[in-house]
C-alpha cells in the first residue's frame, strides 16, 4: 500500500488541514494509503522511506534547512502544499527587511529565537516533484493529485490565469464592470475565482500564472486608481517572492 507522510514547516497548518477538510473523501483516501506520518491527525509514526510526502510551510530556521533534506531523502515523490512551501509565504516579507529589527519589534528577548534572515520555498533547498499553489491550497486539487498518483498518472494542475475560471463561472468582471483592481489576469487558477464571485478583486494568493503580463497588469491597476505604493503592497503579500518579476521589482 502507498505510504503517505505529511510534514510541516513555517506555516498556519491550513494546507494540511485541507486534507482533514475532505470530509466526504477522507475515509476513502485513508483506505487506499497507509498514513505513515501525519502528526496533526495521528500520534502513530512509521519509519520511512515514504512513497509520497506532502510538505507544508517554508524554511525559516537552520534546523528546518537540515530537516527538509532528510525528508527528501526518505521520500519517493515530494509535493509542496501552498504559498509558504511553494513561494516562502507571507513570512517571506522579512526577506527584504531587517530580521533583527523584526524580532525586536515582536519579542522582548530576540536572543531567545533561532531564525534565518529569509523565508524560502522548499524548492530552494531540495528537488520538488509537484507543487500545489494557493493560500490555502484547493482541496479539489489535493484530491486530484493524490488520486493521480495512486492511478500512476500525472496530476492535472492548471497553469492558466484566474480570468479563465472567472469567465467559466459566469462572474461579472469586477475590473470592467466596477473598476476594481484585480490580480486575476496574472494569477494562477485553482481557487475557482472566488474573490470576483464575491465582488472583490483577486489578491493573488495562488501566485503568478504561467505567462503573466506584468506591464499590462500594472496599467490596469493604475487605471483602477491604485497608487504605486498600493500596487507594491498588493503584490507583496502572500507570495511576495513569486510575484517579484511580475511586479517589476527586485524584492
Amino acid at each position: 500500500m502507498t505510504t503517505l507522510a505529511v510534514w510541516k514547516f513555517a506555516s498556519c497548518d491550513g494546507c494540511q488541514l485541507s486534507l482533514l477538510d475532505c470530509e466526504d473523501e477522507l475515509l476513502a483516501v485513508a483506505g487506499r494509503v497507509r498514513i505513515a506520518h501525519f502528526l496533526e491527525a495521528s500520534r502513530a509514526v512509521l519509519p520511512g522511506p515514504y512513497d509520497v510526502s506532502l510538505v507544508e510551510g517554508s524554511i525559516t530556521t537552520p534546523a528546518d534547512a537540515e530537516r527538509i533534506h532528510a525528508i527528501r531523502d526518505a521520500s519517493r515523490v515530494l509535493i509542496t502544499l501552498g504559498a509558504c512551501a511553494t513561494a516562502g509565504g507571507i513570512q517571506a516579507l522579512r526577506n527584504s527587511a531587517d530580521v533583527a529589527e523584526y524580532a525586536s519589534a515582536v519579542y522582548a528577548r530576540p536572543d531567545y529565537l533561532d531564525t534565518l534572515a529569509t523565508s524560502t520555498p522548499i524548492a530552494a533547498h531540495v528537488d520538488v516533484d509537484y507543487e500545489l499553489h494557493g493560500c490555502p491550497i484547493d482541496k479539489g486539487q489535493l484530491l486530484e493529485t493524490i488520486t493521480a498518483l495512486l492511478a500512476g498518472r500525472k496530476p492535472n494542475l492548471p497553469a492558466h490565469s484566474v480570468c479563465f475560471d472567472c469567465k467559466r463561472r459566469n462572474n461579472v468582471c469586477v475590473v470592467v464592470a466596477r473598476g476594481e483592481p484585480c490580480l486575476g489576469p496574472v494569477t494562477r487558477a485553482g481557487c475557482g475565482a472566488i474573490c470576483p464571485a464575491f465582488g472583490r478583486g483577486c489578491f493573488g494568493c495562488f501566485g503568478p500564472a504561467e505567462t503573466p503580463n506584468g506591464p499590462a497588469e500594472a496599467d490596469l491597476l493604475r487605471a483602477a486608481g491604485m497608487s504605486e505604493d498600493d500596487i507594491r503592497r498588493l503584490y507583496r503579500t502572500f507570495t511576495v517572492s513569486a510575484f517579484a518579476e511580475v511586479a517589476g521589482d527586485a524584492s
Partner: protein
C-alpha cells in the same frame, strides 16, 4: 526504569495539536523540578510586517496566522480597526459576522472533539484508526464538521482563509436562497451535535481540578462570540479597550510564544471552560439541558471535561446559526465605509480556543504603525504548565511511554493552537 528518582521525559513532537510544540519534564529526587511547554513553531513576525500596511489589510493578513481559526483573526482584526476609526457596523452586519463565526465554532470544535481529542479517551492513535472499528462515529463527526465548513464557505467564500470579510462588513451579503439549503443541513447537524454531547459525556474523565482564574468575554443576554466585555471568575471586569492594562506578556527562554498574565494576579485560563463558567446562563435552553444531562455543573474546572463543553458549545452554535438564518434579511449594504483616522483601536472576540485580542495603531493616512496580537494559547501557557506539573507529580511511577501518552492527552485538553501562539510543544521528561 519506572522508579528512578531522577529522569527526563521528552516529547519532541506533540501529535494531534495544531502547530509544532514539545514538552519537557525534569524530575529530580523524585519530584517534578520543571515542566516546560516548548513552542518551537518558527516565528513568522506578523506584528512586524503589519507595519506599513493599509488599515484594510489586517483581516486578510492575520487570517494566515491560523488555518484552523482564520475567522477569529478576521473578526478581532475588524473589531480593532473599526474601534480605531470610530466605526460601528449595523446590527444586520454584526449578525452576519456572528453567523460566520458559528460556522467556525462548529468546524473547529468538531475537528478537536473527533479528530484530535476523542481518540485519547478511547485508546486510539488517531481518528482514522478509530474509524476502522467505529466508522459510524467518525462519519458523524465528519458530517458535522462539513456543515460548519460549508457555513463558513457560503458566508465567507472559502472554508480556510475566507475571502468575503472586510473592515466594515462583507464584500457581498449572501442571498436568503444561499442560506436556505444550509438550514436543513443545520437541523441534521443539531441531532449530530446532541449525539456528540451524549457520546463524550460517557468518556472516563480523570479527577483533576484547577483553581486558575478564568477569563472570557461576556455579552449579557447572549453567549459571547464576536463581541462583549472581559470578565474573570475572580470578579475582574474591564472593557476590551483597557485590555493592555490587565493582560501583560513576557517572553520566556524556551518558547517562541509570549506568556500572558493578568497584571497583579498571575496566570489564568481562557477558552470553552472559561466561557461556559462565565456565561452558561446565556446558553440556549437546549444547550443548557444537554450540559446538565452531560453532568456539567455551574462551573467547569476539570480540563478533561473541556471536550464536553466543546460539544455543548457546538449545540449552541448550530442552534444560533439556525436562529440567525431564520431571521436573516440581507443588510441594505454589505459593508459600511470605514475611513481611516490616526489613533489606536482594540478588538477582542472568542476564538474557538479562547479570547483573541488585537490592537492596531494607525497614522492619518490609514497605515498601520504598530500591531499587537494576544492569542488564546499564549494566555493559557503558564496555567497549562502549572497543571502539567501537578499532573506529572501524581504519575511519576508510570513508565516513560505511558507517561508521555498521558501528558499529550492532558495537553490536548487545552486545545493549544501552536501556530497561533507563535509568538508553542516536543515532551521531554528529564529524570536525571
Amino acid at each position: 526504569m519506572t522508579h528512578r528518582s531522577d529522569r527526563l521525559i521528552d516529547v519532541r513532537a506533540l501529535a494531534r495539536v495544531e502547530g509544532e510544540g514539545a514538552m519537557h519534564v525534569r524530575v529530580r529526587d523524585g519530584a517534578v523540578a520543571d515542566v516546560r511547554l516548548e513552542i518551537y513553531e518558527p516565528p513568522r513576525f506578523f506584528e512586524a510586517f503589519l507595519r506599513g500596511r493599509r488599515h484594510t489589510e489586517p483581516p486578510d493578513i492575520t487570517a494566515r496566522i491560523c488555518g484552523i481559526c482564520p475567522v477569529a483573526y478576521q473578526m478581532s482584526a475588524c473589531a480593532a480597526i473599526e474601534d480605531a476609526c470610530g466605526a460601528v457596523v449595523p446590527p444586520a452586519v454584526a449578525d452576519l459576522r456572528r453567523l460566520l463565526y458559528c460556522g467556525e465554532w462548529i468546524e473547529s470544535h468538531t475537528l478537536h472533539i473527533y479528530l484530535l481529542h476523542a481518540p485519547d479517551f478511547l485508546g486510539y492513535a488517531g481518528a482514522l484508526d478509530l474509524a476502522k472499528d467505529r466508522r459510524d462515529l467518525v462519519e458523524r463527526g465528519l458530517a458535522l464538521k462539513k456543515t460548519g465548513n460549508d457555513l463558513v464557505e457560503v458566508v465567507g467564500g472559502r472554508a480556510i482563509h475566507p475571502v468575503n470579510v472586510r473592515v466594515g462588513g462583507f464584500y457581498r451579503a449572501p442571498a436568503p436562497a444561499d442560506l436556505a439549503p444550509l438550514r436543513d443541513r443545520l437541523r441534521a447537524a443539531l441531532d449530530q451535535a446532541l449525539a456528540t454531547v451524549r457520546w463524550v459525556a460517557g468518556f472516563d474523565f480523570p479527577d483533576f481540578r484547577h483553581e486558575h482564574e478564568m477569563l472570557a468575554l461576556v455579552d449579557p443576554g447572549r453567549y459571547a462570540i464576536e463581541s462583549g466585555t472581559v470578565a474573570t471568575t475572580g470578579g475582574l471586569a474591564f472593557g476590551v479597550q483597557d485590555f493592555e492594562d490587565h493582560v501583560v506578556e513576557e517572553h520566556v527562554p524556551h518558547s517562541t510564544a509570549l506568556h500572558a498574565r493578568l497584571a497583579g494576579r498571575g496566570r489564568y485560563l481562557t477558552g470553552p471552560a472559561a466561557r461556559y463558567t462565565l456565561s452558561r446562563q446565556w446558553l440556549s435552553p437546549l444547550a443548557r439541558e444537554a450540559a446538565a444531562e452531560a453532568g456539567l455543573g455551574a462551573e467547569c474546572r476539570n480540563p478533561y471535561r473541556s471536550i464536553v463543553v466543546r460539544a455543548v458549545e457546538t449545540v449552541y452554535a448550530v442552534e444560533e446559526a439556525i436562529r440567525l438564518i431564520d431571521r436573516y434579511e440581507p443588510p441594505p449594504a454589505a459593508a459600511i465605509d470605514v475611513p481611516p483616522r490616526a489613533g489606536a483601536g482594540r478588538g477582542a472576540t472568542e476564538a474557538p480556543r479562547g479570547t483573541l485580542f488585537h490592537r492596531y495603531e494607525l497614522d492619518a493616512a490609514g497605515l498601520v504603525t504598530s500591531a499587537r496580537i494576544v492569542p488564546p494559547t499564549a494566555q493559557n501557557q503558564a496555567a497549562v504548565e502549572h497543571d502539567l506539573g501537578r499532573f506529572v507529580a501524581d504519575r511519576l511511577d508510570l513508565p516513560d511511554d505511558r507517561l508521555t501518552a498521558e501528558c499529550e492527552q492532558a495537553i490536548r485538553n487545552y486545545d493549544p493552537c501552536i501556530s497561533c501562539a507563535t509568538h508553542f510543544l516536543d515532551l521531554r521528561v528529564d529524570r536525571g
